[in-house]
């Protein structure tokens, strides 16, 4: 009744190609942004901001990055953790070497640096496919972590191998890193930053280059025959994906945790992000957000569940049970909806269009 496109006519090609062609979608998006920008900072406690919303936004960024590579271009990568580490350490080196450089610029530059690394490790994808490639990307994962761990230069020779983000502000007093940063400023900065980059990603995947990625994903030989250059399509997917993942890594180290060591970006991080895009939906920007929310919230929920229902258990046992339930839920979700949460949303929308008169 409320959600339908009947009566909304397009009078220009521009309007026809809009990201959200339906008025209701536009309103919903504006509503979500308004809630995220104005309502959430007012009602959310520091705990919510620091342990749920900030990591959610950082992970969304990483998930968008991986989704570009795996969901849109079809190249399975298990090197996400390594690329996140790249972004974090590049940002650290940049901002300590050039303290006057604006922090946003530092993030973008570290993303660019990670994109270069991504291209380098993407070269094998020109010959290797499928799971062989997935395992080959593990080379990036292990090599990069080893490198950041082994050479003191990356951490400015700190004895513990931990990098701590120096205080940097976006403008004036609005610190987003360092001890002075307030959770609200961090959160608002991330909302704006992630929203802008997500918008760019959404437009990228609808553009010529995004379509060439999807052609490669669906069948690379056929794509080559209709005139898409696989080298450019695959390497650009690696570059742009690594750009996003690198920025996510830098945000993780600078805005979320504040100090980080290379081991924080181990193989488990890669799997975590891969889970996000599979649960959220491969080949969907919205899915990246949904998946990130799911994977960030689930462990917190599982952690608090025993105390909520009043059962006393040892910490060890909770940890193991958490693993079990996490694994079981992953399998359950894959069986119920292999195309992810984004698909559920789509089905819901279809239903909503007909509601309340399904015939």
């Amino acid at each position: 009744m409320f959600y339908r496109e009947a009566g909304q006519f397009k009078t220009s090609y521009g309007a026809d190609q809009a990201i959200f062609p339906i008025l209701q979608d536009k309103l919903a998006l504006a509503g979500i942004m308004a809630v995220a920008l104005f309502v959430a900072p007012m009602i959310a406690s520091t705990y919510w901001l620091e342990t749920i919303l900030v990591p959610f936004l950082v992970f969304s960024m990483a998930a968008i990055g991986l989704n570009i590579l795996t969901g849109y271009c079809g190249q399975v990568s298990l090197g996400t953790g390594g690329f996140m580490a790249c972004g974090a350490f590049f940002a650290y080196k940049l901002t300590t070497a050039f303290p006057d450089l604006h922090i946003v610029l530092v993030f973008l530059l570290s993303g660019l640096g990670t994109a270069m690394v991504g291209i380098l490790f993407g070269i094998p994808s020109l010959r290797i496919k499928g799971f062989y490639l997935a395992v080959a990307t593990l080379a990036a994962q292990f090599f990069l972590i080893w490198m950041f761990n082994k050479f003191g230069w990356w951490t400015n020779y700190s004895a513990s191998g931990v990098i701590s983000a120096p205080p940097r502000s976006v403008a004036g007093d609005l610190f987003i890193t360092g001890p002075l940063a307030s959770p609200i400023v961090k959160y608002l900065f991330l909302v704006v930053f992630v929203a802008v980059l997500a918008l760019i990603a959404k437009n990228l995947v609808r553009s010529r280059i995004g379509r060439s990625w999807m052609a490669i994903r669906d069948m690379d030989i056929a794509a080559e025959i209709i005139g898409i250059r696989p080298m450019i399509a695959k390497l650009s997917a690696f570059a742009i994906s690594s750009f996003y993942i690198g920025i996510a890594g830098a945000l993780w180290a600078f805005v979320y945790t504040g100090s980080v060591e290379a081991l924080a970006f181990e193989i488990n991080r890669s799997f975590q992000v891969l889970f996000m895009i599979i649960i959220g939906g491969l080949g969907s920007i919205l899915g990246s957000f949904l998946g990130a929310a799911f994977i960030v919230l689930l462990p917190i929920l599982l952690n608090n569940l025993p105390s909520l229902i009043g059962v006393q258990m040892s910490v060890d046992l909770i940890g193991h049970l958490e693993f079990m339930i996490f694994g079981a839920l992953i399998i359950f979700f894959l069986i119920v909806e292999p195309h992810g949460l984004a698909r559920l949303w789509q089905i819901g929308k279809e239903k909503l269009r007909l509601w309340p008169f399904p015939y």
């Binding site: 795996t70 399975v76 094998p124 010959r127 290797i128 496919k129 499928g130 799971f131 062989y132 997935a134 395992v135 080959a136 593990l138 080379a139 292990f142 090599f143 972590i145 080893w146 082994k150 050479f151 069948m219 030989i221 056929a222 025959i225 193989i267 799997f271 891969l274 889970f275 599979i278 491969l282 060890d316 046992l317 940890g319 193991h320 049970l321 958490e322 693993f323 079990m324 339930i325 996490f326 694994g327 079981a328 839920l329 992953i330 399998i331 894959l334 069986i335 292999p338």
Partner: protein, 336 residues
């Protein structure tokens, strides 16, 4: 394998080893801080080869499942951990190790049946990446399940394999070559396991059915091979292989959480040898094990050590650039 390829291997492999040896000798001649003797080289090489067999044991489980169902089973590592934990748990209850072995095998068959029924059957016909993620789900589940049941302390698994180091060939090289006896037994077990699997695959009725399923699911179904039974069998066999690997690795490192992560070590072995080849898993394991050990000992010093973490992956990746399907993998034929 054709006779020509076989000769190439028999001549080529020692050739490569010799060439690398001479290369190191040249470096040693030019750089006095670089330590190299042929005896030491042989010792490192043999230790690496034996280590490689251990990797192969884990990789075998992957290959079995990938061959029969096209599933890249990430859960193999946690299957190893689960098997070892169950075995130790049963032995601590006072069972003799032979009885514990039989009982654990039975438990693993149950796990295989459950996996087939609960995970694989509802996900039939899904894209490979979905199945891969499902096995990661199994990985987490089994990991937690095993430790919930048996606790997470480091346990000792001892079934009476001697572990004193021995010296061989004392006459040939100065001081002899030091070999860990435990590794020798592990290698022998690995060899026997492969032989048994080969006979099982080539000679038995179920083995033939397995090969048929590996070739083509649909064709196998249409000639009357029950796919569900085959999958349960292949997961059971993979569980048994995991048990053997668990006993060997558990005996070497102690049974603990990190056992699940040796699966990561088996992955480069897998892609080097080819996902679909049992001999490939063995040869790949030998190459990775020896290469890794030699690189760590002789080259690790130049870049700060601990290059074991990634060397195997780099080696496998560079190798794949020249042969994208691995050493013995089936040739990838693509049609539009």
């Amino acid at each position: 394998m054709s006779p020509r390829a076989l000769t190439a291997w028999i001549l080529g492999a020692p050739g490569v080893i010799l060439i690398i040896g001479f290369l190191f000798q040249a470096i040693a001649a030019a750089n006095s801080s670089f330590f190299f003797t042929w005896g030491y080289y042989a010792e490192v090489l043999i230790a690496g080869l034996l280590q490689g067999v251990m990797y192969s044991l884990v990789a075998l489980g992957f290959v079995l499942i990938f061959k029969a169902s096209g599933v890249f089973n990430f859960a193999q590592g946690s299957l190893v951990l689960f098997a070892a934990l169950t075995m130790v748990g049963l032995m601590e209850m006072g069972l003799h190790w032979v009885l514990a072995l039989v009982a654990t095998t039975a438990v693993l068959v149950l796990v295989a049946l459950a996996v087939e029924r609960v995970v694989l059957r509802p996900l039939v016909n899904q894209p490979q990446i979905i199945l891969f993620m499902a096995t990661i789900g199994i990985f987490y589940f089994l990991d937690g399940f095993g430790q919930t049941l048996w606790g997470s302390d480091v346990k000792v698994l001892d079934i009476g394999i001697p572990r004193d180091p021995i010296f061989i060939l004392p006459g040939l090289v100065e001081g002899g070559i030091l070999i860990n006896q435990f590794d020798l037994y592990a290698a022998a077990t690995g060899g026997i396991l492969v032989a048994v699997l080969a006979v099982f695959f080539q000679k038995t009725r179920i083995g033939r059915a397995l090969r048929a399923v590996a070739d083509d699911h649909q064709a196998a179904l249409s000639v009357g091979i029950p796919l569900k039974v085959i999958w349960a069998v292949v997961w059971s066999v993979a569980g048994f292989v995991a048990l053997i690997a668990g006993i060997m690795w558990g005996g070497k490192l102690g049974v603990q959480f990190t056992l699940a992560l040796i699966a990561l070590k088996a992955l480069p072995v897998l892609i080097l040898g080819g996902f679909t080849s049992i001999p490939g898993a063995i040869v790949g394991g030998l190459i990775i094990g020896a290469g890794e050990q030699v690189a760590e000992v002789f080259l690790g010093g130049f870049v700060g050590g601990a290059i074991q973490d990634w060397f195997a992956y780099m080696l496998a990746m560079l190798f794949l650039l020249f042969r994208p399907q691995g050493l013995f993998g089936e040739k990838i034929i693509e049609r539009v």
